[in-house]
């Protein structure tokens, strides 16, 4: 073997970890820097990982409900057992029954409002349940229990009876990831309902939204409701986004800095509607 080839070969062997690291780091950087391009990325990994994770998520949610029930139905009532065992078992049984009925009533109310809302929007839609919430400092998404096999696809609008939730960014067969309005990558064309001023609403990366491109002399007041304009083709027109809770002068003295509180509270959200039109 010539000396140069041997040198090159030994160089690669000595620095193989650094070389592999550099290549993988560059590849990762390339993926992130070109993420806006409409190239499907990570679909196979998403399908495989969600195939493993979705059942665990469902089991975890079921376990969480069971533990909550155990706590409220039993552990919390242990102290009263000393006073009267008979009374306790009667209370326990009534509590159980009451809780079950309350749960049924709440589910009924939610389903009723969801069905009414589905009729109101007048679009083809599919109802889905939340199976997971991801809230990292740099990402705000939720996972729903329906995917490509139910006809869902990328960029479909996800709404609830209270207002807009987000849009689908990834689908597997039986699960989808929804980018929430509050994620910093989210931006939607909107109107201020009262004055019909057009603007763009962006996620702040926290729990609020930022209404952009409202000029200093534009008429926007605290409490104004912001609704979708329907111009981007993702969200239907007129879906509630949130309510203006803070107005300040921005540094450039040209636009206002406006903070909007989303109508939909993710912490209490269980069912959503995906607009499939």
């Amino acid at each position: 073997m010539p000396i140069t080839e041997r040198n090159i070969s030994s160089f690669f062997k000595r620095h193989q970890v650094v070389i592999v690291s550099a290549l993988l780091a560059l590849y990762s950087l390339h993926l992130s820097l070109t993420y806006k391009k409409e190239v499907p990325r990570g679909a196979v990994v998403y399908e495989a990982v969600s195939f493993v994770i979705t059942p665990i998520q469902r089991a975890a949610i079921a376990a969480q409900k069971a533990v909550k029930g155990l706590w409220t139905d039993y552990v919390f009532l242990v102290g009263t057992a000393d006073e009267n065992t008979l009374l306790k078992s009667r209370i326990l049984s009534l509590e159980n029954e009451n809780m079950r009925l309350n749960d049924e009533v709440l589910l009924g109310r939610r389903l009723k409002s969801t069905l009414e809302f589905m009729d109101d929007v007048g679009f083809n839609s599919t109802a889905a349940r939340l199976t997971g919430v991801t809230s990292t400092p740099w990402t705000r998404t939720v996972t729903i229990n329906k995917g490509a096999s139910s006809g869902l696809g990328k960029d479909m609008a996800v709404i609830s009876a209270s207002g807009a939730v987000g849009r689908i960014i990834e689908t597997a067969s039986n699960a989808s990831t929804v980018l929430l309005l509050t994620d910093a990558r989210s931006d939607i064309d909107v109107y201020v309902e009262r004055t019909r001023i057009k603007a763009v609403i962006e996620g702040s990366g926290e729990d609020s939204l930022i209404l952009k491109y409202i000029r200093i002399d534009d008429d926007v007041a605290l409490g104004d409701v912001v609704i979708t304009s329907g111009l981007t083709g993702i969200f239907p027109r007129g879906v509630a986004i949130g309510e203006v809770v803070r107005i300040e002068k921005s540094r450039d003295n040209f636009f206002k800095y406006i903070e909007v509180k989303p109508k939909v509270q993710i912490k209490t959200l269980e069912e959503v509607i995906v607009v499939t039109d």
Partner: protein, 162 residues
């Protein structure tokens, strides 16, 4: 390679629980602790590939910018490798401090990647919180990881993890 058998399901479980049972709790960054643990033990291509896969999995499942976490975890791997030649991560304090510093580095790296794609968000407070929880829980997780690795490694091939 056998470590993949432990670490990947562990990371999958972590991602599932993080998005359900512990969605509203500041969780320690387990994929980062795994990468930190792999990096300070030995230099290996498997370790780098593991860092890439864990980051990629995290990005795909959390709906983040794909590549941001994998990039930052590879940088963390290389940084820890570099420091491990001078610092032995054998005590609770060094492991906690090392993992917390690694979490900060990961946050900074992700912040830089997001800035370069036009996403300007300030999350230093959240990153600090994650760094604290990750640092505080890292020694316990590392003990657990060492035990799990010992389970799948035949005695004759154990590499004498610190």
């Amino acid at each position: 390679m056998k470590e993949f058998i432990i670490f990947l399901p562990l990371a999958a479980l972590y991602l599932a629980f993080k998005s359900t049972l512990f969605a509203s709790v500041p969780m320690p960054d387990l994929p980062l602790i795994i990468v930190f643990y792999s990096a300070y033990r030995k230099t290996s291509i498997e370790g780098v590939i593991l860092a890439f896969i864990l980051g990629y999995m995290d990005d795909v499942m959390s709906g983040g910018v794909i590549g941001a976490s994998s990039f930052s975890l590879i940088i963390v791997y290389m940084a820890v490798r570099l420091i491990a030649s001078k610092v032995h991560f054998s005590t609770v304090a060094t492991r906690a401090g090392g993992a917390a510093a690694a979490a900060l580095l990961k946050g900074i790296m992700i912040g830089m990647v997001l800035r370069s794609v036009g996403i300007h968000i300030s999350f230093i407070g959240s990153v600090l919180l994650i760094a604290i929880t990750t640092g505080a829980s890292a020694p316990a997780f590392i003990t657990l990881l060492t035990r799990l690795v010992n389970l799948v490694t035949p005695a004759a091939f154990k590499d004498g993890a610190h």
